[in-house]
């Protein structure tokens, strides 16, 4: 299989990750109309969190995908992360068989499905790739781009990407890192949004629709802990590597912004401006950047720029 890496291009690219929250169709379509008009390079589409969310089906996403492609965007379809039921698998097979767009595999089963079809894929950040040997294996299976697990620090990524085990193939894949947004940290069979409303998943009434930015959970002392998003648990703070872009260069080819309820495109512009004219953004709560700096993910290192 031929894989084409794009890390030969010198400039950083930007992507929009899949929308993690449950937004109504109208909001989703509005968001992607803005995306089409924006300077984003790559857009990931699809429901990655909960199979019960059906505001948009695969055909709807394909419709959006065509519009984005016409606007010059690279489009990727993101697979569901936690695949459990036969229906989940059937749906993900439809994603794999879409015939046009590359798929981001968020479960090792999807890697298997794509590789047996001889299709290239993007390795999503919920695949456990922690070392160069695993990365090399994924490449052999058809990986074109590696989206790094969110918890990996700079030191780890540096060691991994400069390891002798992958020197000869380093030009054959590109790398992507989630650099902005609430971090996807865990997936469960249980729906925590439903639980927070005293409901169970089977009778959830799709109540996550009422929390288009997730539901914030705090400690009894008022400290931000987590953000509930259905069966996904996100960080209580927003990950923000805007002051680390220079540091990311050379290691990361694509910076991912996770769609937020507000201001996603303003932040996209902010990030892109950093390439032309870097400035130190005054970050404070609710921002965090600990993972990249080898600390607890929730931590915020201020003035980390050297």
């Amino acid at each position: 299989m031929s894989v084409s890496g794009d890390n030969s291009t010198s400039s950083m690219k930007f992507s929009l990750g899949p929308i993690h929250y449950f937004w109504d169709k109208n909001r989703v379509e509005t968001f992607y109309r803005q995306a089409a008009d924006s300077n984003v390079d790559i857009v990931y589409l699809g429901e990655t969190v909960c199979a019960k969310r059906r505001e948009l089906r695969l055909d709807d996403y394909l419709g959006v995908a065509h519009q984005l492609r016409e606007a010059g965007k690279e489009v990727v379809l993101s697979s569901m992360t936690l695949l459990e039921s036969p229906a989940d698998l059937r749906e993900v097979q439809r994603y794999c068989d879409n015939g046009e767009f590359v798929v981001e595999a968020n479960d090792m089963g999807v890697v298997g499905l794509l590789s047996e079809r001889g299709l290239p894929f993007i390795a999503g950040n919920s695949l456990n790739c922690y070392n160069p040997q695993t990365l090399r294996y994924l490449m052999r299976m058809g990986m074109q781009r590696w989206v790094m697990p969110v918890e990996l620090p700079k030191r780890w990524i540096h060691d991994l990407l400069t390891a002798s085990e992958i020197t000869d193939v380093r030009d054959c894949f590109s790398t992507e890192l989630l650099a902005f947004g609430y971090l996807p940290l865990a997936w469960s069979a249980r729906c925590f949004t439903a639980r927070s409303e005293g409901k169970v998943k089977d009778s959830c009434e799709l109540c996550c629709k009422h929390y288009p930015a997730g539901r914030l959970v705090k400690t009894q002392e008022g400290d931000e802990m987590f953000t509930l998003n259905g069966l996904q648990t996100q960080s209580g703070f927003r990950y923000n590597l805007i002051n680390d872009i220079q540091d990311l260069m050379g290691m990361v080819d694509v910076l991912r912004l996770s769609p937020q309820l507000d201001d996603t495109f303003i932040w996209l512009q902010n990030f892109q401006n950093q390439l032309k004219q870097p400035v130190a953004f005054p970050l404070s709560k609710p921002d965090c950047n600990g993972f990249w700096h080898d600390q607890a993910g929730k931590d915020l290192l201020i003035a980390s720029q050297t």
Partner: protein, 333 residues
């Protein structure tokens, strides 16, 4: 159906064997396994001692190497695989693709079990690991309902192991970064969730408070049972107008005993007891109860029911003295 008991040290291993475990699983004393706790696990010499003891009793020993290898010290993980192969363990429990590949290539005779940390929740993932790395058994994550377990059992040829009893991970194992978000150390990278070195207990006079890396996980009134501050089992606030509650999960243990006849009819090959961090006394008691239950079920599955004495013993050994069927039961979700 095998009864597989945990052992964090030699006394626990002996307690498991003496009380009827068909097999035990252990880890090495380093960061290669998901119970990387101080004072726990076996060094190379103890591992050989453990394997000899288990084999003298005609039982089996599995070794968990189920964290993800670091790029700067990958050899440590590979050497742990080598050590296991030379110690005569009967199976390796692996999660990392690089180690699955290494083991399958280097030790083709070694029986490989896919760790729960690999998070194989569906037939596509299970078949992938089986075909690629000759995985001979898959440990199913604790996120599946019994109907989903059934579907997997009916659609793959790969033997399945399920969790029967012990601490309940409520997130898909191997894909949970909550611990590294709060402390910088995660099960995947370090081999521990909510590590003890970040735990602090404070008696405020009115309350006992448990903290993890300074964040308040729970606050207990006098007389309330205070459990270890595992980050997903604390009381937090989701709605400012409501009191704090167990937003993610209560302190409770998984107990699937009432599903025994069903698990047996599905051909589940092994029942796993969680708890390598537990004492020999705990391992012995839990193993004994499950031995009795499995034997009773084997004798007459139709008539099987959970004896009240078993229930009582298991509850007394459970987190918060309560048990749950967890995700096996749809209502839990």
């Amino acid at each position: 159906m095998e009864l597989l008991s945990p052992a964090g040290n030699i006394p626990a291993l002996k307690a498991a064997i003496e009380n009827g475990a068909d097999a035990v699983y252990v880890g090495l004393r380093n960061q290669t396994n998901a119970r990387h706790f101080a004072g726990l696990n076996l060094d190379a010499i103890k591992l050989r001692e453990a394997a000899d003891y288990v084999h003298q009793h005609k039982r089996k020993i599995h070794l968990a190497i189920n964290t993800f290898a670091h790029p700067d010290s990958w050899r440590q993980w590979a050497e742990s695989v080598d050590e296991a192969a030379h110690s005569g363990v009967d199976a390796l429990i692996l999660a990392d693709i690089s180690l699955l590949e290494y083991t399958a290539r280097r030790y083709p005779e070694m029986e490989i079990h896919l760790s729960v940390q690999a998070s194989a929740t569906n037939p596509a993932a299970i078949n992938f690991y089986a075909q690629e790395f000759n995985v001979q058994r898959v440990v199913l994550p604790r996120v599946l309902s019994i109907a989903q377990v059934k579907n997997i059992a009916n659609t793959t040829q790969v033997p399945l192991e399920v969790f029967a009893f012990g601490s309940l991970c409520i997130m898909a194992e191997g894909r949970c970064y909550l611990s590294s978000y709060l402390t910088g150390q995660s099960p995947n990278t370090f081999g521990a969730c909510s590590p003890a070195e970040f735990v602090r207990w404070e008696n405020t006079g009115d309350h006992l408070e448990s903290r993890l890396n300074n964040l308040l996980i729970d606050r207990f009134s006098p007389g309330e049972t205070a459990g270890y501050p595992t980050l997903c089992k604390g009381r937090f606030v989701a709605d400012e107008t409501q009191p704090a509650f167990h937003v993610l999960e209560e302190p409770t243990s998984l107990n699937s005993m009432e599903l025994l006849p069903e698990l047996m009819s599905l051909g589940i090959c092994s029942l796993k007891i969680e708890g390598r961090q537990r004492s020999a006394a705990y391992v012995g008691q839990v193993t004994r109860v499950w031995r009795q239950a499995i034997d009773a079920c084997k004798k007459n599955a139709q008539q099987f029911s959970v004896e009240s004495q078993w229930k009582k013993t298991l509850s007394s050994l459970s987190e918060g003295q309560q048990t749950t069927l967890g995700a096996y039961e749809r209502e839990w979700r």
